[in-house]
Amino acid sequence: MISAKNDPTHNVIELRLPSQAEWVGVARLAIAGIASRLDFGIEDIEDLKLAVAEAYTNCIQHAASDGEVRIECAIHPDKLVIAVHDQGKGFNGAEIAPRKLGEPQERGLGVFLIRTLMDDVSYEVDPRRGTRLTMIKHVRPQQPAQ
């Protein structure tokens, strides 16, 4: 596990939140604050808010309707590495059907958005201890507003 104690070259901010819908907005605010301290542009900050909220939402909807969700942000000068853990039953990946673009499918949007908005995404699933989603976004030179 990434920890400030093991690796003094970067900072870690951790949030522990109830696995409940009403607190997702708090995670978004915190992520926006963290991202704005790095050199992320406005669009990247919105991407980060959405990706983290989607990950947290999946913990609430699919992992456990109580318990705790942990969001760990490892802050590097050039990237943000965010891990979202839950204490749920996990899943095997087969549940993630590929999205057919242009069809009105209600499901499968969350993981699709996370994969699209973040640079690197990986799941570690342990049926006894829950799911850990790690996602990375690199700081890019800011694009001028469109």
């Binding site: 997702v24 919105e46 939402t57 499918q105 209600e106 699709f112 958005l113």
Partner: protein, 115 residues
């Protein structure tokens, strides 16, 4: 972090309803949007304009509510038109391919004119 939901009629467009949303649509607030859209469809309103101009944020549960509404009105040959000007929200409809299944307009007037 909250949502305000208002429903309006459009003069001269019988049966059409505008759902005016203001705030953020996420896993916490989308049930309220879903309820309003569901009630309108239950009442027989199959042409809906969802005004997202004052929506600063939408996540997949919000998109799911819009898609679910679209599916239901389509059974009655209805439509769901979205009014959306925020570039970040437009981007979400773009990358999910939902631009292809919703009519997306720059203003309530143009959404209403297209009906």
């Amino acid at each position: 972090m909250d949502i305000n939901v208002d429903v309006k009629e459009i003069p001269g467009k019988n049966g059409v309803r505008v759902v005016d949303l203001n705030g953020e649509i996420d896993v916490y607030t989308s049930p309220r949007v879903k309820e309003t859209i569901g009630e309108l469809i239950d009442q027989g309103h199959y042409d809906l304009i969802i005004n997202l101009e004052n929506v600063r944020y939408i996540d997949s549960t919000g998109l799911g509510v819009l898609i679910g509404g679209l599916k239901r009105v389509r059974e009655h040959s209805g439509t769901v038109s979205l009014v959306c000007t925020n570039p970040q929200i437009k981007k979400i409809f773009d990358i999910t391919g939902l631009v292809k299944i919703f009519g997306i307009y720059d203003s309530e007037a143009s959404a209403s004119a297209a009906l």
